[in-house]
Symmetry: C2
Amino acid sequence: MQIEMSQPILAHNDRQATANRERLAAHHVYLLDLMASPGAGKTSTILATIERLAKRFNVAVIEGDIASDVDAQKVKAAGVPAVQINTGGACHLESAMIARALDALDLQALDLIIVENVGNLVCPTEFDLGENAKVMILSVPEGDDKALKYPAIFEISRAVVLNKVDTMPVFNFDEQAFLSSVAALNPQAPVFALSATSGQGVDAWCEWLAKQMQSVVG
Amino acid sequence: MQIEMSQPILAHNDRQATANRERLAAHHVYLLDLMASPGAGKTSTILATIERLAKRFNVAVIEGDIASDVDAQKVKAAGVPAVQINTGGACHLESAMIARALDALDLQALDLIIVENVGNLVCPTEFDLGENAKVMILSVPEGDDKALKYPAIFEISRAVVLNKVDTMPVFNFDEQAFLSSVAALNPQAPVFALSATSGQGVDAWCEWLAKQMQSVVG
């Protein structure tokens, strides 16, 4: 069952996304749309990424939340510009929200903007923000069957981060089953197993991201 | 930002929800709408609840998923009737989907139907299914700040289950901060800290649910 208004809404969103994309390209800024369930570790992955990439690139973060600014505060404490978007109930970010957030950032001074989307494995998949890539995080405690149950987000992600791998012994997570189900949906997407809090595996993810950025940032 | 069509869609949903509620009341069936993030442990909580309550009540389950029937298979393996709804992309269940699922169940023979909503802390909050109560599960790995970030679901829940409490030492979860933030939004809601897989705390949750059912089932 789909909400009937979705086609006009999506067409409007796509037009603004295209405008965002052209604006960012003109400034040589790479936009990453990071999606995940609530509590999968989006903010901690962003903080771990900033820690490694801020020496090489100028980074900013756009934080999307239904309510609160706790994540933006954490990012600002890491010394990086952060813009908080409160969706006021909406389950995803839209390109018009990103356009307003870009107005608040100095694009000329930036190389990379990481968007932390609203915690949700469903709604963000349908909305183009003007990003260069969508990437999703799944965390080990969520279980190894999530690609079967939420296929769309795995299909549209350029890469998949598997976070909290240090807790694999605690949970009954079948990594091989997970990797097979991801590969069946999206054979091109690399899967980066890491722990954002311990740092394990974060370097490989950051190297991949830096390589993706090359054609945009130069 | 809200989708403009939401008011007519919600009004239509509410009419069908009222019809569901009357139909269930006529058959003395209690309907529980169980909501949570992906991987918070909805299915394992349902299985632990069935294990304890199936001796006293006739239970069935309605499984809501974007895709797949892995959860319905698990419930059927526990010897309980299960109806799978695949929403085909929609991020929540609606009352019309529940109406069709009720057609597939023998209401005369049932006391309790547990609806496992789509894994999502946002969208299911807006849709009345005709339930007697909405209850949410938060799992410890998701973090202690979720009531600040997803307030609506905490506000509308009759009770809150805090699952995977056995993993609290692994994660940096501040239980007191979590309980305070829930109490600020919803002072009436009891919070049941439990582990659906180890069984710790499940009895208290089941006793509460059985008590809620009394006025309906008799």
